[in-house]
Symmetry: C2
Subunit: 96 residues, 2 copies
């Protein structure tokens, strides 16, 4: 199934910027970056549970947030992109 | 239906920051901000078409991107939130 993951990580502190890098790196390892803080991951239920657990451990729940959207298997017709195409490389971890 | 809207707007220039403010304002007017650049909007098909058209006209397609995810009407079980709850007010237009 396609799982959409979006995150907000508070980068006001060095610790926050470190969390952001770790969250981004973990998402990069499991899916396709489509915007700066938006990833699409093709996962089965077990992989999804593991990834969610990993990400949950990386964030500070007082400052940061994660959202997961399960788009199922028939996701292609549910998604529309307008504008600049995703051009993220595996190494991009932008701090915007 | 629930439409998830995510955007990346390039804020390297004053014009980009102006586009970001306009995109955010338009999304605020039509839905619920759940993360900095992520909105959930309850729309019918006509409202969705109008909003998509508005947003498309606001961005610079060479620099910015919009993504739309149609989550249908049975969306509650498809969404999971972890961490800090959305605390955006109608006037928040952050430039992170």
């Amino acid at each position: 199934m396609l799982v959409l993951i979006t995150y907000d990580v508070n980068t006001e502190t060095p610790a926050g910027r470190k969390r952001l890098r770790k969250v981004a790196k973990t998402c990069i390892d499991h899916g396709q970056r489509v915007q700066n803080s938006v990833f699409e991951c093709l996962l089965d239920a077990a992989q999804y549970a593991v990834l969610k657990s990993k990400l949950t451990q990386l964030i500070d729940p007082e400052c940061d947030s994660l959202r997961f959207y399960c788009l199922g298997n028939s996701y292609k017709k549910k998604v529309e992109h307008i504008g600049r195409c995703p051009q993220w490389s595996q190494d991009d971890v932008l701090l915007l």
